[in-house]
């Protein structure tokens, strides 16, 4: 009788451990997918920026204190949209709105060595270095999953 009770207890612990482990495995698997998808999305955004070229990306607002130009927005519907956020589902497909979105992606372009126009406007020149940071976040809680960054210059990579 005692042996049966011990066996039952061991079996119970094993079953509980199995379910807990499964849960952990599933959660971890989801995290891996999140990271992989974020990497793919960030990379696609950076490659799109490179394809546009340093002289064609949008310009933002010049800050006379930092002497840098900054643009924030996202690549949505085939264009760089100032102030926008891009949304993607869990499979990495871009969505037209936040409905059903799992990832959100924002882009910040910081420009050094620019030509300043009137007010806060500016234009880029051949020697302007344009630093681009793409940040993928989880829509549900806003947690940043993976930022990725590069910079581009006319005639460069």
């Amino acid at each position: 009788m005692l042996e049966a009770i011990i066996a039952l207890l061991i079996l119970s612990v094993a079953v509980v451990a199995m379910f807990t482990s499964w849960s952990t495995t599933f959660k971890q698997s989801k995290v891996i997918t999140e990271v992989t998808q974020s990497e793919q999305i960030d990379r696609a955004v950076l490659e799109t920026a490179k394809a546009f070229g340093a002289l064609n990306l949008p310009t933002g607002t010049y800050n006379s204190t930092s002497q840098l130009g900054t643009w924030t927005g996202a690549y949505t519907s085939g264009a760089w949209t100032s102030g926008a956020t891009a949304y993607y589902d869990f499979s990495g497909n871009q969505l037209s709105s936040s409905t059903g979105a799992y990832f959100s992606v924002s882009v910040t372009i910081t420009d050094a060595n620019v030509q300043v126009g009137t007010g806060t406007s500016y234009t880029v020149q051949n020697s302007t270095l344009r630093s681009i940071v793409a940040t993928a976040s989880r829509v549900s809680d806003g947690t940043v999953i993976l930022p990725m960054a590069t910079n581009i210059i006319a005639g460069g990579m």
């Binding site: 009788m1 005692l2 042996e3 049966a4 011990i6 066996a7 039952l8 061991i10 079996l11 612990v13 094993a14 451990a17 199995m18 482990s21 499964w22 952990t24 495995t25 971890q28 698997s29 995290v31 891996i32 990271v35 992989t36 974020s38 990497e39 960030d42 990379r43 950076l46 930092s66 002497q67 840098l68 910040t108 910081t110 050094a112 060595n113 620019v114 030509q115 300043v116 126009g117 500016y122 234009t123 020149q125 051949n126 020697s127 302007t128 270095l129 630093s131 940071v133 993976l146 930022p147 990725m148 960054a149 590069t150 910079n151 581009i152 210059i153 005639g155 460069g156 990579m157």
Partner: protein, 545 residues
Amino acid sequence: MKQNHFRTTRRREAGAALITVLLISVATAMLLGASLLVTLSSSKLGWKQARTESALQLANAGINSELQYIALNQAQTNVALRSSQPTIASGQTYTYPGESTAIKGRQGSIPGFSGYFFVYSSNDAAGSTAWDGVTSPFYITSSALINGVWQRVQVSTQASSLFNDWGINIPGSYGDNPVTTTCDANGSIVVTGAAGINGQVSVGKGCTVQTPHGVNGNGCTYSSGQLTGSNTTGGDLVSTKAPFCFPTCGDVIRRACGHPEYSDNDCYSWQSSHCNNSNGCYTYKSNTNDATINTSNCTKLTGGCGTTLSNSCFTSCGTHPGTYTSSGYYYWWWWQNPTVAVQTLIFEPGDYYFNSVQLAYSASCECIIDSQAYASGGTPGQVRFWICPTGSGDTDDNISLPITHLPASGQSAPDCGLFRIYCCKDSHACNFTRPSGCNDWQGNAVSGDFEYHCGLYACTRKPDQIPTADGTDCQTNPNIDTTKHGCTVHLCGQTTRSNGCCKITGSCISDKLQCTGGCTLNYKASVTCGNDPCSGAKCISWCKK
């Protein structure tokens, strides 16, 4: 007896169940362990893959950062300051996997992003010799580190010509003379490309300045007196905090000759002994009737041309066939003008050194730039005029004679990248004039612009300010040479533009610019410019190391 047997059997069954459960538990534990191990490995792999990609992007960022660094530092006299060196920075402790010494190169990062890149430029792919500022193509190597993950990339890059960035750039703003650009009263400056100007401009009454893109440089020093909407039309006006800086003529020669220790005068002497004045000048043969410039009709000019280029150089040249068809003997016939013999001086590809250029307009003088080497049958290439001082007694230089630059076969216009004029006389002017009242060899009035298809370079003194490392601001130039005052390009055309302007087609970079009458700076990118001073570099191939 039976009772004992029953108890023993029950105990055996219970023990067997326990053993079975234990076996199941062990098997389950092994499965779970393996599953967790796989999951954790996958997780680690996933993160590593993401960081690897991120590090690759950051390594590429290092390449671009170096391209900017090179573009901003080409005015540095010290070659080691013109690019990041393949040496270990002081205090550097990071080590690339598989290497025994600390990482080489300049350390940098992207604002708002964790991780570093280490980048340097070198003549060779192995990174053993620093880029000398001249060799092209050269290599840029960048290694990036993100959370313990390294990536390294290398690009082969081609130096880009500083004549290909601007229609004009006038950088010579000095504390004792901040005016870089002067437009005399009733004059007009038309620039078809970008116009970059450090310092201040002086625009006389009735003068107009026109450009599609005016850039006021050195905004950290000058906040007034620059190009404004009231003195400039035709496009947008912007400004940069950093000044425009270019190498001096001396720097350009120092790089070309590979003697960084040379003084400016040493450079001019070196250039005078490395020129083609004696063997690169051609003219028409005396017995030819065909004006086509080729090896059959042309011959080397005996004795070449000296170091003073003036109208007298043409007296020993052959006559352009077909000219001098009627002499003064027939002049009394009212229908026939007297003609003059046009003597033709042809410059083949190469370097020509002059300590004085005095070319007045004359219908009997024809100056031809034969960058295609039609006359000699040699290899097409750049024709470079070096107008340099000789010490004391230097004078301004004057060119009032049209210079014809022959296009390549099948082309209607020449590649302006194949003709360069370097005016290296500090405190002097190089005057290009389109005079009035010019008649051609037949006595007919010459109409239209005097157009020079070339790159014009006249920098002898750097501005008092230089850009900061990232180009966002300026700083005092630690090597201000107050003994110099800059070189001036003075263009002089007819006030009524339709009567003829002085026109530079290509690019003009000069410490100072003065315009009298109608002046046109018609920007045209150079196609062939491998021998030009470098303004930066462009990637031509990429590889992951």
